[in-house]
């Protein structure tokens, strides 16, 4: 992008500058914009997956072991059934649990809506290990009478908690954008409140509901931290079994075969997501203004319903975190209040203190955020410029890491790095890069619509006034998309901070992130270890909440498409 700088005030500001400004940069610039993200995704995403597939192929051809035998030995089909079954159950339960909250979100405005958005979003971006710890402290504490301390019930509860945000942000946002007069029109034609909602509003929300459902299915079928901690061996899915086979027993062929199966599941789920995430599902734009919607829910029955929905939100989303905080200070019910868990943060677990790993986590997540922002923004710029089939393909590919099983990816890295020179395998850049890869799709999903919101005429005006492409970007685009960039940074940071699946494969003693450390503390017996895990989890909750608050404060007036 350097050659364009010769277009000073004295240069031919009229003729020469048209070409590059329209085509979007000099040749070098265009190559950089496309090549960097393409290379990054290829090396960090495609390579480990291909290495995994090749390994699987070699195992199959060398050992002579038949695929059926491997599948039978690993109990693969029943694992597949359980994986799909628990994902489907989580999906249905999350939709039901989130429905009142989505309704609430669609019918309130102003500051309350921002608070609700934070309350809903924090669970979604909480590190999964933290969610595991929170539900363990909930189910062994106040809810111990339910006797679902671990196993399917516990996993489903945690999945609902995690995924309410998906429903609220996808369906609730579509609902919010729906013109309230549509419901009013149905009401004036003689339909009662419920009947009008069912016959007019719900059909319009169906695409959004289907989109949210498939996303939840995708997330839950690749859920790792939650199943590992709350499944506690009773509930095994493909994802946890890959980890157990690879790390626990070091049975690579079995792990590879299960990874292949998981890849198939994920691609099927991704395909469903693409089919159902219809952009029209975002609802008709415009909307008759918030005032109208607020008017529809005036009166005491509606206020009562709102109060009930708000209470449900608090119980479902704040409750588990609140219990975690209380129990981190008071480990046994009726026992003494103590800071023991927090004091233990300075004592080593597996040779590393939680405070040291927190520092590493922050550094690593910070670097990952930077990488994700640079690569993600470049990818967003080139996707935004790409048109037609190529653009559609690129946009699908760039989103795959969002849904891919982190354990599969981590396992792929393990195989690739094993064949690398020590300098690369032990490079401090590995973990930040992997975390960045997980965060990049999110950055892209936020930045592409933001770039689309910049009026084309404004760019053209800047170009006709003599600004070269890079200057057009910094003087026109950046000020407009700045807030979105801030939001993307915040989300990228929390995603990187909480990443568990891939990092747990790659972490060494000096590169142990806090989630990984919590995971290993939980695996050790004893109340002290649980107390340490809870205290460390509270620290992560605080960091995550801060980041989400920052994002919501920075949020542009338009809806940030989180998912």
């Amino acid at each position: 992008m350097t050659r364009a700088t010769n277009t000073g005030p004295g240069a031919t500001a009229r003729g020469d500058n048209w070409g590059p400004a329209r085509r979007g940069g000099t040749l070098a610039g265009r190559i950089a914009v496309r090549l960097v993200p393409a290379l990054f995704i290829t090396i960090l995403f495609a390579w480990p997956l291909i290495a995994l597939i090749r390994r699987a192929y070699r195992i199959a051809s060398e050992s002579g072991a038949r695929l059926e035998d491997l599948l039978a030995r690993t109990d693969a089909w029943s694992l597949l059934g359980i994986t799909v079954g628990q994902a489907a159950a989580s999906m249905v339960l999350a939709l039901l649990a989130a429905a009142p909250i989505a309704w609430l979100y669609a019918h309130i405005g102003g500051r309350v809506a921002v608070i609700l958005a934070v309350v809903v979003t924090v669970p979604f971006v909480l590190p999964t290990v933290v969610v595991g710890v929170a539900f363990r402290s909930l189910l062994t504490g106040p809810l111990s009478f339910l006797h679902i301390e671990s196993g399917l019930g516990a996993v489903l509860a945690a999945h609902v908690f995690l995924n309410v945000a998906v429903v609220v942000r996808v369906v609730g946002a579509a609902w919010r954008n729906l013109d309230p007069r549509l419901l009013e029109a149905a009401r004036t034609l003689g339909a009662g409140r419920v009947k009008a909602t069912m016959t007019v509003v719900v059909p319009r929300l169906l695409p959004a509901i289907a989109g949210a459902a498939t996303l939840i299915f995708l997330f839950c079928s690749t859920s790792f931290g939650v199943v590992l901690i709350l499944g506690a061996g009773e509930l095994r899915t493909l994802e946890t079994e890959i980890y157990t086979q690879a790390i626990g027993y070091f049975r690579l062929p079995e792990a590879v075969v299960l990874s292949m199966l998981q890849i198939v599941v994920v691609f099927a789920a991704l395909l469903l997501t693409r089919v159902f995430s219809d952009p029209a599902g975002a609802g008709s734009a415009g909307g008759g203004g918030r005032r109208g919607a607020a008017a529809v829910v005036a009166g005491w029955p509606a206020r009562l319903a709102m109060a009930a929905a708000a209470t449900w939100t608090v119980v479902l989303l704040v409750g588990p975190v609140a219990v975690l905080i209380v129990r981190s200070l008071r480990p046994s019910a009726g026992g003494d209040w103590t800071f023991a868990g927090y004091r233990a943060l300075a004592e080593p677990v597996n040779g590393v203190t939680p405070l040291e790993s927190l520092r590493y986590s922050l550094v690593s997540a910070g670097s990952a955020t930077l990488i994700a922002l640079v690569v993600g923004t470049l990818a967003a710029v080139s996707l935004f410029r790409a048109r037609g089939v190529l653009g559609a393909i690129a946009s699908t590919i760039s989103l795959i890491p969002l849904g891919i099983s982190a354990v599969t990816l981590g396992f792929g890295y393990l195989i690739v790095l094993a064949s690398m020179p020590y300098a690369i395998a032990a490079s401090p850049a590995v973990i930040p890069c992997v975390q960045a890869l997980i965060a990049i799709p999110l950055v892209i999903r936020i930045m592409v619509p933001a770039l689309e919101s910049v009026p084309v005429r404004l760019r053209q005006a800047a170009a006709t006034l003599g600004a070269p492409p890079l200057r057009v970007f910094t003087t026109v685009d950046l000020p407009i998309v700045g807030r979105s960039l801030g939001a993307a940074a915040g989300f990228a940071f929390v995603m990187a901070l909480g990443e568990f699946g891939a990092t747990s494969f790659l972490a060494r003693a000096d590169t142990t992130t806090l989630p990984v450390l919590i995971g290993s503390a939980l695996n050790r017996p004893g109340a002290e270890n649980l107390a340490t895990a809870m205290a460390a989890s509270v620290v992560l909750v605080a960091a995550t909440t801060l980041a989400v608050l920052l994002v919501e404060a920075l949020r542009p007036r338009t809806e940030v498409p989180l998912l």
């Binding site: 549509l182 004036t188 016959t199 059909p203």
Partner: protein
């Protein structure tokens, strides 16, 4: 401004289709939109009423309250003597047409029109008959199977009207039904809607900000300002006798001058004109149509002398802007004039608005 033939006979016997609003107050939070409004309309000779006012005056809020879509903070709304307070929107049997139709997207024209009939559990055969009957009425015969997403703006509003009329509403409420359409279509549809509604005999309240539209459609016009009714009158009365200067200006008067009446002659700074009114002082609102100019012969009243500063050739004849003793005013020219011409102006008694 003369609409279709008004038929005072249509409109039901007295006491039928009467809407009575008493001391109505509506507020959004701290912002009071309508404050203690009382108004009565409908009954014989007033089948269609227009509520006319500038945007933000609360006219839409008013009919939304009548429909039950807004909850009054105080006051009552009655229809044919029945207090509507306890009756929910869907039990009022009022038809509503919204500004942009609010058709249910992704469905057919027939499904939209049938919606209200299904809610009333009409048998399927009767629904089909009623739908095609209404499509004939609104001039879209055979459109049953069309998806509403493929309709033009005008067609969509016709379907919205058919949908509102289908269940035989007791009262029809039209909220700026033509505002989203272009000028030509608006004029055409205003006449048509009023004919359809008159044929159906449904008492109607139409909200609009366009006084020509109000005059085309309505028997009675209620002028609304800042949440209150300023004047309720037949269109012709409204043009010639606006209640105050604001109303006169809102209805198109661009200049207001003082007049002193003596023996049926009004003296103004722009000259005299005959007005059959009692002696005293009044104010007169002048629209461009109220002032005619012609090239000046010598020796005329100096008050009526003016200079042409702008000429616009409109289809209805030349419109001019002239410099007078009270500043620049718009007028119509009865013969062709050009910029800089000295002209003589004449106030046209029938077209002058007598304020108060």
């Amino acid at each position: 401004m003369t609409g279709p033939d008004r038929n005072p006979g249509v409109g039901g016997p007295d006491g039928q289709g009467v809407l009575e609003i008493d001391d109505l107050t509506i507020a959004y939070g701290d912002h009071t939109v309508i404050d203690g409004l009382s108004w009565r309309t409908g009954g014989a000779g007033a089948l269609i009423t227009a509520v006319l006012g500038p945007s933000g005056c609360g006219k839409s809020t008013l009919i939304r309250a009548v429909a039950g879509l807004e909850r009054p903070a105080a006051g009552t709304v009655r229809f044919d003597g029945e207090d509507l307070a306890g009756i929910e929107v869907h039990r009022r049997d009022f038809g509503v047409v919204f500004q942009d139709g609010q058709l249910f997207g992704g469905r057919s024209v027939a499904a939209n029109i049938a919606y209200g009939l299904k809610m009333r559990r009409w048998p399927r055969r009767r629904i089909a008959d009623r739908v095609s009957e209404l499509l004939d009425v609104v001039g879209l015969p055979g459109y049953e199977k069309r998806s509403v997403d493929t309709l033009s703006g005008g067609q969509a509003q016709r379907v919205a009207l058919a949908r509102a009329l289908a269940p035989h509403p007791r009262l029809l409420l039209l909220d700026e039904p033509l505002a989203a359409l272009d000028r030509r279509l608006r004029d055409e549809l205003a006449v048509e809607i009023s004919e359809i509604v008159r044929a159906a005999g449904v008492p109607t309240v139409v909200v609009t900000h366009d006084h020509a539209e109000a005059a085309t459609m309505a028997d009675v016009i209620a002028v609304m300002r800042d949440g209150a009714m300023v004047q309720v009158a037949q269109p012709s009365t409204l043009w010639t006798r606006p209640v105050d200067e604001w109303t006169a200006r809102f209805l198109g008067a661009t200049t207001v001058v003082d007049a002193t009446l003596h023996d049926g002659v009004a003296e103004t700074v722009l000259g005299d004109l005959r007005l059959d009114l009692p002696d005293g002082s009044r104010r007169l609102g002048l629209r461009p149509e109220s002032v005619e100019v012609a090239r000046t012969p010598d020796a005329v009243d100096v008050r009526s002398l003016a200079t042409v500063v702008l000429v616009a050739e409109l289809p209805s004849g030349p419109r001019v802007r002239i410099e007078t003793v009270v500043g620049e005013i718009d007028a119509i020219a009865t013969e062709s004039v050009s910029i800089g011409d000295r002209v003589r102006l004449r106030l046209v008694p029938d077209r002058v608005a007598v304020i108060g």
